[in-house]
């Protein structure tokens, strides 16, 4: 290991860079420990880079760059590994992606340290990567599980947990709540015959909170058998228009052509299914009719394959609107506000 900088003269302005030797940057963590790292690796961090260019420090042990408090030595090691890998220009996207996937397979606490440290060093791609990893740990989990993973204290009262509902003054909602409570009470009475009273009490609290919240927030968990009202009329019409030609991208367009002309002949706007229109108009009378669960007239599905095709078409269209044709790699690595906003937007399906 070449310790080139130790041979430097005391004056801080002279930075000797012999051709054969790499140059190193010295970094100091909040706890006083100092690390030495290759210059190009350190320069990958915008904060360090700025510091070097602005003040010229970091070139020797005595003038090491002080890193923000959030960066512990262990975390710094990890971050430097990340920088060392990614600052090499020639790597393929696949390589980078698999490195990233392996990189975030660390303990939860380390991951949280990483995101903090990456943020304070200005490493936006790493912030993105770690936040995505943390999001994956939260997504789809129950509050208890999340508290367990991240060691969160359960310090909200039951009332506070129901608070979002308190903000709502609509009568229909309170009616629904009462209905739901009544249903729950009935269910639990039956269960009390089998289990201990205490256990049931606890479970009732927890489950009621979650279920209420999820019901109000629109969970698809409730398996409504009211869904298939079967508006067969529309489905048949859509199916007729489907061409049986090969699944080539441009054949799809031809299919679209016939179905589009179908829509055009009926002057584009009004659908030919009077049933559905009526249903909608009913709901339209009362501006705040948040009819929960009862009239799920909105539940009927288009032929799912057709729906998927239409969805894909709109996605394609949206993607076209977003994409800048040149370098995809450039797009991925550069995190301009615009792209981040829009791509997380469209990709959020």
């Amino acid at each position: 290991m070449i310790r080139g900088s130790q041979q430097m003269p005391e004056s801080e302005t002279a930075i000797i860079k012999p051709e054969a030797m790499k140059s190193y940057i010295w970094l100091q963590c909040a706890d006083g420990s100092i690390q030495q790292v290759e210059e190009e690796v350190a320069m990958f961090c915008p904060t360090i880079c700025r510091e070097i260019l602005k003040t010229g420090s970091g070139s020797s042990k005595n003038y090491a760059i002080s890193l923000p408090e959030k960066v512990s030595p262990a975390t710094l090691s990890l971050i430097l590994d990340y920088c060392r890998f990614h600052q090499v220009a020639g790597r393929s996207n696949k390589e980078r992606k698999s490195f990233d996937e392996r990189f975030v397979k660390v303990d939860t606490d380390q991951l949280c340290e990483l995101i903090s440290a990456a943020d304070s060093l200005g490493l936006k791609p790493l912030v993105d990567l770690t936040s995505r990893a943390i999001a994956r740990m939260i997504e789809g989990r129950t509050p208890e599980e999340i508290r367990e993973i991240f060691h969160l204290p359960d310090d909200l009262t039951e009332e506070e947990k129901l608070e979002p509902l308190k903000n709502v003054n609509d009568d229909p909602r309170i009616r629904l709540l009462n209905r739901l409570y009544a249903r729950k009470r009935k269910e639990l009475k039956e269960r009390q015959k089998q289990k201990e009273a205490k256990v049931v009490e606890e479970r009732k609290d927890e489950r009621s909170v979650d279920e209420l919240l999820s019901f109000i927030n629109g969970e698809e968990g409730s398996r409504n058998s009211k869904t298939t009202k079967g508006k067969k009329k529309n489905r048949r019409r859509k199916e007729q228009n489907k061409d049986s030609s090969t699944a080539d991208a441009y054949h799809t367009e031809k299919k679209e052509r016939t179905s589009m002309s179908g829509a055009c002949t009926s002057s584009g706007n009004v659908s030919s299914s009077p049933n559905r229109n009526q249903g909608l108009r009913e709901g339209a009378q009362d501006p705040f009719a948040l009819k929960i669960g009862e009239d799920d007239y909105t539940d009927d599905e288009l032929d799912p394959a057709m729906q998927e095709e239409l969805d894909r078409e709109v996605e394609d269209f949206a993607r076209r609107l977003n994409s800048m044709w040149p370098d995809r790699v450039q797009e991925i690595l550069s995190l301009s506000q615009d792209r981040r906003r829009n791509s997380s937007f469209v990709g959020h399906f």
Binding site: L78, D109, I115, S131, G218
Partner: protein, 426 residues
């Protein structure tokens, strides 16, 4: 390297061992940005530090596959509890809900919404409320199956850069006027639209244009355009009454495409080639497109004008790198493809000088079509000195390929391949 502590060293825990509650606000936002909205809202019951963390997220995306009534409830709840600017709003609904849309648009217009993505998929289109036009901070708009009725007082969106309208009806204002009153417009996409008369697009900053719909005439004044994808759908061939037919002076291709000096990628599809071929086809277009590197155009076999129009484009693009041709059979007498093609080929010999990739797409089953494909492939192999790949898409006739392999290749590196489909062309 210095002396780093061993990686396995335990990191100091924050208060009570809580790992993430003390993250700075914008890092929490980063995490929220990557979660579906339901999970975001659910974080409010995790702990006291998380109760209100989510309420200031700038992006709200409601795109789960859920019943409409539940989604409407969810949106209402979220908008009610949310506090702060709403910069990005996305909503995917099956059926329109005009009243709900009204109250949501009110909230959005008051919260500085910058990008709006509204997608409906039913037969009935959703009526966009007039509050939409008060969203002065809008920069990005995508709407699917909507009816947009512009008020007379509408002055335009001064910050709007991207508009995408899919299967929408625009009333109260023409497309041309909408474009004109959005001076910063860079990307315009109109899919499945119907326009009466001449579609006039005057946009000094427009970079990308996608059009697919019905129109009688097209006039685009977009000097900065680099990407153009235009398709004309027509039931009654109304465009036949186009300006070119009446005036007879300039051909459509010259008038419409002739001055797009910055164009880099050009895609012409459906009947638009028919439209372009109206009027006297010039030998060469008035300008040379030095930036044009990709062309995707149909070759309508046996209709000389349309083939001539396509070749007009080829000749005007000396730096053409990628070419994609769909072969369509339009009837007409069985002319000799070889003759026609060689007549159209430029005599100066600068055709296809930089061409590297060619995709020849087979669309219909027709013997004459196969003959045309063969002749064109032969032409390409013969004239492209740096040709890299010649792909035949969706065609697996063995004799065709045997004949193809026999043709002389000007480029030593040229490879002929048979590919199922080229969906990744774009």
């Amino acid at each position: 390297m210095g002396d780093p502590e061993p990686r396995q060293s335990r990191v100091k825990h924050n208060l009570h061992g809580d790992y993430i509650s003390n993250l700075p606000h914008d890092l929490k936002q980063e995490i929220f940005l990557k979660l579906p909205i339901k999970d975001v809202v659910r974080t409010s019951i995790l702990s006291s530090k998380w109760k209100d963390s989510w309420t200031s997220i700038p992006t709200l995306a409601f795109a789960q596959k859920s019943t409409d009534s539940k989604l409407i409830k969810l949106v209402d709840n979220v908008l009610m509890v949310h506090c702060g600017p709403i910069l990005n709003f996305k909503l995917v609904l099956k059926h329109p809900c005009n009243e709900a849309m009204g109250r949501w648009m009110l909230i959005l217009s008051r919260n500085g919404v910058r990008s709006l993505d509204l997608r409906y998929s039913g037969d009935e289109k959703c009526k966009i409320p007039s509050r939409f036009f008060s969203c002065v901070a809008l920069e990005w708009v995508l709407m699917s199956c909507c009816i947009i009725n512009a008020p007379r007082t509408f002055q335009g969106f001064k910050l709007l850069r991207t508009i995408g309208l899919e299967n929408c009806n625009l009333t109260g204002i023409s497309i041309g006027n909408l474009v004109s009153c959005c001076p910063l417009l860079e990307k315009l996409g109109l899919h499945k639209f119907i326009h009466q008369g001449c579609l006039h697009i005057l946009a000094p900053n427009l970079i990308q244009l996608y059009l697919y719909g019905e129109f009688h005439d097209l006039c685009i004044e977009t000097p900065k355009l680099t990407f153009g994808s235009i398709g004309l759908h027509s039931r009654n061939r109304d465009y036949k009454k186009s300006i070119a037919e009446k005036a007879g002076k300039e051909s459509n291709i010259t008038r419409v495409l002739g001055y797009l000096l910055n164009i880099q990628k050009l895609h012409v599809f459906e009947d638009f080639i028919d439209y372009l071929a109206m009027g006297p086809i010039p030998e060469n277009l008035p300008a040379i497109f030095y930036e044009l590197t990709e062309i995707d155009v149909p070759l309508c076999c046996s209709v000389q004008d349309k083939i001539a129009a396509a070749f007009c484009l080829f000749k005007g693009a000396p730096n053409l790198k990628k070419l994609r041709i769909e072969f369509l059979y339009y009837g007409g007498e069985d002319q000799q493809p070889a003759q026609i093609l060689s007549k159209l080929k430029a005599t100066e010999g600068c055709l296809f000088k930089c061409l590297e990739i060619v995709n020849i797409v087979h669309v219909q089953n027709n013997v004459l079509l196969a003959k045309w494909m063969l002749e064109f492939a032969k032409l390409v192999l013969n004239t492209a000195p740096v040709l890299h790949k010649l792909n035949i898409i969706n065609f697996e006739d063995a004799t065709f390929f045997t004949k193809l392999e026999c043709f002389p290749k000007l480029s030593k590196k040229a490879e002929i391949a048979s590919v199922k489909n080229d969906k990744d062309w774009f």
